[in-house]
């Protein structure tokens, strides 16, 4: 029950993180759907890693589950990170470029 209560509290806090407008069925249901989608997709993406390495997949699934329940709600955090701020967009573009080049260039040496 403690886990359930924690989840419920995080959902209540989710709306206030998103905006200061009056809470309506529309935005609460949207936030809930987003939160569930993130959780399920994270688990499924972690399971997908079994095609690369089964051990890595098991470790990532456990890590994802733990990280999710200790960092709820994720939807509002993801929303704030995906704003139209040029700084944030540029940051993620540069990080992705760096990861791609590093993983592909050095990673292929060990394949």
């Amino acid at each position: 029950m403690a886990l359930y209560q924690k989840f419920l509290d995080s959902i209540k806090g989710l709306k206030s993180n998103l905006s200061k407008d009056p809470t309506t069925m529309d935005n609460v249901s949207g936030a809930l759907a987003a939160e569930f989608l993130i959780f399920i997709s994270l688990i499924l993406a972690a399971l997908f890693l079994r095609h690369v390495s089964v051990i890595a997949s098991v470790v990532v699934v456990i890590l994802v589950a733990v990280l999710f329940f200790t960092n709820m709600p994720l939807a509002s955090k993801i929303k704030s990170e995906q704003s139209d701020s040029l700084e944030k967009m540029t940051f993620y573009v540069i990080v992705t470029l760096g990861i791609l080049v590093a993983v592909i260039y050095w990673g292929l040496k060990y394949v």
Binding site: A33, I38, I40, L44, I78, L108
Partner: protein, 493 residues
């Protein structure tokens, strides 16, 4: 020689120049625009499948004139000029893009009394660029036309006169200043390693071991071209700016912009698949970005209160489905991805133009200020609802067929978790659309809601109806296109 192939690019470029010159004369501009907009899909239908060698450098002809010491060498097989390849798959995409452009231009004329020459110039120049991008078999030529497309996209946003459009256009240009040069740098690495930018030449050189397939310059070239592909398609980390771009253009402009993105994604995706599919974990990398695109974009759309931004995020999320099909990498999944790309061009155009009528009527896209719009035009309301069903993958529409193909392809390839994810994302798309639809059309009309226009122009209703008919026809008779896609995908693998 099939002169209709280069005409698919030349005609819109000429139209772009002419409408800009006659910018002040509305009747002339409208007449020229409509004739050219309908001519482009017609040329795509009547052009015969074939190859166009620019500069008269047919390789077979040149090979017969080569000195004997060059015969059989790598240099002898190279194409020395730009080559356009036109097959049935290009016919389908250019035809559909032409239809969307025609309907968008028609809608623009109906909703705007005084037309803008520069705005139409940008539309036609963009259309010419993406057509060339589709036809070209030369990655540098593709890059050049992609940059022209990106510039026309920026221009279309600037010419749209919506709130914050300049800011978003500037941000897109700044991020493009990272994505575009990286793509060019990747192409430069390929040119430096192989000595050609023709896709067939590159494949020939790699598959016949004239170069080391894992040479550092080729590998880094792949990484940079993959990054450029993410930029051209609007996949993460470019999904936020891409959705902002769609939401800041006029609805008819957004319909065209998303079509441009799909075609850029298709052209570079196919080129990348042809050249780099041998690289280990190539498919895994594509799948990871597909998952990111689907989840991040659909999550954002579920929490969005601006319906134009919501559709924009849904459009980017649908790109994730296309990437997923490419990433799974089987013949059936690539065919499903191509079908999904076809459907996205039509469905998203329908939703941008259809939902755009709400913006036309009320000059607001904030769902919290809207309601009761079913009373204004019930026909349009129903068509938008059916368009949303097509997007979410509800039978008997085309979206259902392509998503079913994707799910089947994922299951056949052993990616059960991806099939489940695709279904769950489709459910959330359905939920998001129904939520927005209910808010805008079905809930009671707010007392303070004011109308800028009383009625929706008939041309707009006609445009949405045509797009809906295409969705229905492709949903009931998917074989019209899927047979061609399956054959093409078989050749690709």
């Amino acid at each position: 020689m099939n002169y209709l192939i280069p005409l698919m690019v030349v005609v819109p470029i000429l139209a772009a120049l002419i409408v800009n010159i006659f910018g002040g004369n509305d009747k002339t501009v409208k007449a020229i625009s409509l004739v050219v907009a309908i001519a482009i899909p017609l040329i795509a239908i009547f052009a015969a499948v074939g190859v166009q060698y620019f500069g008269g450098h047919d390789p077979a002809l040149i090979a017969s004139l080569l000195p004997s010491n060059l015969v059989g060498t790598l240099a002898a097989s190279y194409n020395t000029g730009i080559v356009y390849i036109f097959e049935n798959i290009e016919r389908i995409f250019i035809f559909l893009m032409g239809i969307v452009a025609f309907l968008a231009v028609l809608t623009y004329f109906a909703e705007k009394k005084k037309v803008s020459g520069p705005y139409l110039y940008l539309i036609f120049m963009g259309l010419a660029s993406v057509t060339a991008l589709m036809l070209s078999n030369d990655i540098f030529n593709m890059y050049v036309f992609f940059e022209i497309t990106a510039l026309t996209q920026v221009g279309i946003i600037v010419a749209s006169s919506t709130e914050d459009n300049y800011e978003i256009a500037m941000k897109y240009m700044i991020l493009g200043a990272i994505g575009g040069p990286m793509l060019l740098l990747g192409i430069g690495f390929i040119l430096g390693t192989i000595g050609s930018v023709n896709i067939n030449d590159i494949i020939y050189a790699i598959s016949n071991n004239f170069v080391n397939p894992y040479s550092p310059s080729l590998v880094i070239g792949f990484a940079l071209i993959l990054f450029g592909w993410l930029y051209s398609a609007g996949l993460p980390p470019f999904h936020t700016i891409k959705s902002a771009v769609y939401s800041k253009a006029r609805p008819n402009g957004s319909a065209i912009l998303q079509g441009f993105s799909v075609l850029c994604m298709f052209a570079f995706g196919i080129a990348m698949y042809k050249i780099f599919a041998y690289i280990p974990y190539f498919n895994t990398a594509i799948i990871l970005f597909a998952i990111l695109a689907m989840v991040l974009s659909i999550t954002m759309s579920a929490m969005e209160v601006d319906f134009r931004r919501m559709i924009a995020f849904l459009a980017v999320g649908e790109l994730g489905f296309i990437a997923l099909g490419f990433g799974i990498g089987t013949q059936y999944s690539i065919a499903a991805a191509l079908f999904q790309a076809t459907n996205e061009i039509v469905i998203t155009a329908l939703l941008f133009i259809g939902f755009g009528t709400v913006y036309y009527l009320t000059k607001t896209s904030d769902t919290r200020k809207l309601g009761g719009l079913i009373a204004v035009d019930s026909t349009m309301t129903i068509m938008v609802l059916l368009g949303g069903f097509a997007l979410a993958g509800v039978p008997p529409f085309n979206g259902f067929q392509s998503k079913l193909m994707l799910v089947q392809a994922a299951l056949d390839a052993g990616y059960t978790e991806l099939a489940v994810l695709a279904i769950i994302v489709s459910v959330v798309i359905f939920f998001t659309f129904v939520k927005a639809f209910h808010t805008v059309y079905l809930q009671p009309k707010p007392k303070d809601l004011k109308f800028a226009h009383e009625k929706i122009p008939k041309a707009t209703v006609f445009s949405v109806a045509i797009l809906l008919i295409i969705c229905l026809v492709l949903g009931i008779f998917p074989n019209i296109v899927t047979d061609i896609f399956i054959t093409f995908a078989g050749g690709l693998i």
